[in-house]
């Protein structure tokens, strides 16, 4: 183990260690730091010494996360190593001042936990909805567009409330228009029935008054229905006989509201949230066999019901992983891994963003968001989603609605 060399190259703009150097340090020492029971660090990362936005002028630093910041005297009295001492120890240095970089401690207030899925018993309403997104995509939209909150309330409402995101719209060779989201958002993890009404906004985003006024499924779908479930791709879960692979978590609902439902305007369905338009479908990522250079824009963004507009970077392709659903574990392969870009002050996605369309910097669709962990978002590549839905719908062509 080693600290940064004193004469290691510095980032001229920050007068501290470069981001890459700190990343190397984290890769080498973060495990040891977190595994050491002699400190109270629950996480470690890279931040700004100011603890502010990543684009401010202060130097990058190694940031330690603790549940509660304590005075030095109390830390010493408890026999716990200070963050500075712990970092120095993990680096093989005797003194914190020998480190070639800045450090900082951030109080989290609680341990990190994975987000609960946004399908909750009605009694817990309010505990999970959280504050409105910066772009308020949780409310009723007269003008339908991508990125707004939807759900399939059948089999759950009014006992359980839920919400996910409307990803984008497609049109088949007979001129029928469908909204696209995840199976687990609008097809109830394979339990959906053709013709189920998809509502907007999601039931978790209704106010108490709205819930009281629409206290039955029939009243709810009459007032807020926008589409009817048309097709989905079954999720295959781990079972005693083996572990099948999944490629997509997707479903389509035809824009066909219940007879008495107030009409919605569909003239802006190529628009992503309150931002720009979806302009096409990106080519699948290809990779140079020798250099590993990826052809295509890896800078991506999405509009989702919970976190609104966020930007990220595709950091992994060909991802193989298990994903936790209410009905069990499902194994996926050939997925896209996305991390929030430094432009973001928060994660790329959170619970309730499932179903969001992932757009590249040219606003072409590259994927369909369906899951996340503490620091990564997973998306299905877009082409398998379109191919699978075309087959599931039994249509000849299926094109994304673009501006």
């Amino acid at each position: 183990m080693r600290a940064l060399e004193p004469d290691a190259p510095r980032d001229a703009t920050t007068d501290g260690a470069t981001f890459t150097q700190l990343l190397d340090w984290l890769n080498a020492h973060a495990d040891a730091l977190l595994d050491d029971p002699g400190n109270n660090v629950i996480g470690v990362g890279i931040g700004k010494k100011s603890a502010g936005p990543l684009d401010d002028d202060s130097p990058y630093c190694i940031t330690g996360f603790v549940e509660k910041k304590l005075p030095q005297t109390q830390v010493s009295a408890m026999g716990v190593a200070s963050f500075a001492a712990a970092v120095a120890s993990a680096s093989g240095q005797r003194q914190p001042k020998a480190l070639g970089f800045e450090i900082d401690v951030v109080e989290t207030g609680s341990p990190f936990v994975a987000h609960a899925g946004l399908k909750v018993p009605r009694a817990l309403r309010g505990a999970h909805g959280g504050p409105p997104a910066s772009l308020d995509l949780q409310k009723r939209f007269g003008l339908l567009r991508s990125g707004i909150g939807i759900t399939n309330p059948h089999r759950a409402y009014p006992k359980t409330l839920s919400v996910g995101t409307l990803g984008f719209f497609v049109r088949d060779d007979r001129g029928r228009t469908y909204l696209v989201s995840n199976n687990h958002v609008i097809a109830d993890e394979n339990a959906g029935q053709p013709g189920d009404v998809v509502v907007q906004p999601g039931t978790l985003d209704l106010t108490s008054s709205e819930l009281a006024l629409m206290n039955t499924l029939a009243k709810l779908t009459t007032q807020t229905g926008i589409a009817r479930l048309a097709a989905w791709v079954d999720l295959k879960f781990h079972d005693p006989h083996g572990i099948p692979f999944n490629a997509v978590d997707c479903a389509a609902a035809e824009l066909k509201a219940p007879p008495k439902a107030p009409a919605r305007d569909v003239t802006e369905i190529a628009r992503a949230g309150l931002g720009g338009n979806i302009v096409g479908v990106a080519s699948p990522y290809t990779i140079d066999p020798i250099t590993g250079r990826v052809a295509g824009s890896t800078r991506v963004c999405k509009v989702g019901r919970t976190t609104g507009w966020t930007e990220g970077e595709v950091t992994q392709i060909a991802v193989v992983t298990d994903v936790r659903y209410g009905a069990g574990l499902a194994r996926f392969r050939n997925q896209i891994g996305i991390a929030a870009s430094p432009d973001n002050t928060g994660p790329f996605s959170k619970a309730g963003d499932s179903g969001s369309g992932i757009l590249d910097r040219d606003h072409k669709l590259v994927g369909l968001l369906f899951a996340g962990s503490e620091n990564r978002t997973l998306a299905n590549p877009i082409q398998p989603v379109l191919d699978a839905l075309r087959i599931a719908l039994g249509v000849t062509t299926l094109d994304v609605v673009i501006a």
Partner: protein, 84 residues
């Protein structure tokens, strides 16, 4: 003698030989992926803390009749993905 795999081989192996690769990594839970950071063709295996030592340094696969060896980079950063 197995050939060294290039990026395209790794991408294809993860899609076409997934079960065979997983069998060679005896851990309780993992994510596999191909990093696109330009630091070499390899499989990134995210595993639980304490299981890193059980990850082999490489896995062997066969693609189009070619025997390939793919380096595996093990990182103890496994965190379960949830559909949300």
């Amino acid at each position: 003698m197995a050939e060294a795999a290039n990026y395209l081989d790794v991408q294809r192996a993860l899609q076409e030989n997934t079960a065979g690769i997983i069998e060679q990594i005896p851990v309780s839970a993992l994510h596999l992926s191909m990093p696109v950071d330009g630091r070499g063709a390899r499989i990134h295996a995210s595993v639980k803390a304490g299981e890193k030592a059980r990850v082999p340094s490489h896995v062997d696969v066969e693609l189009d009749g070619r025997a390939l060896s793919i380096p595996v980079e093990a990182v103890a950063d496994y965190s379960e993905f949830k559909a949300y």
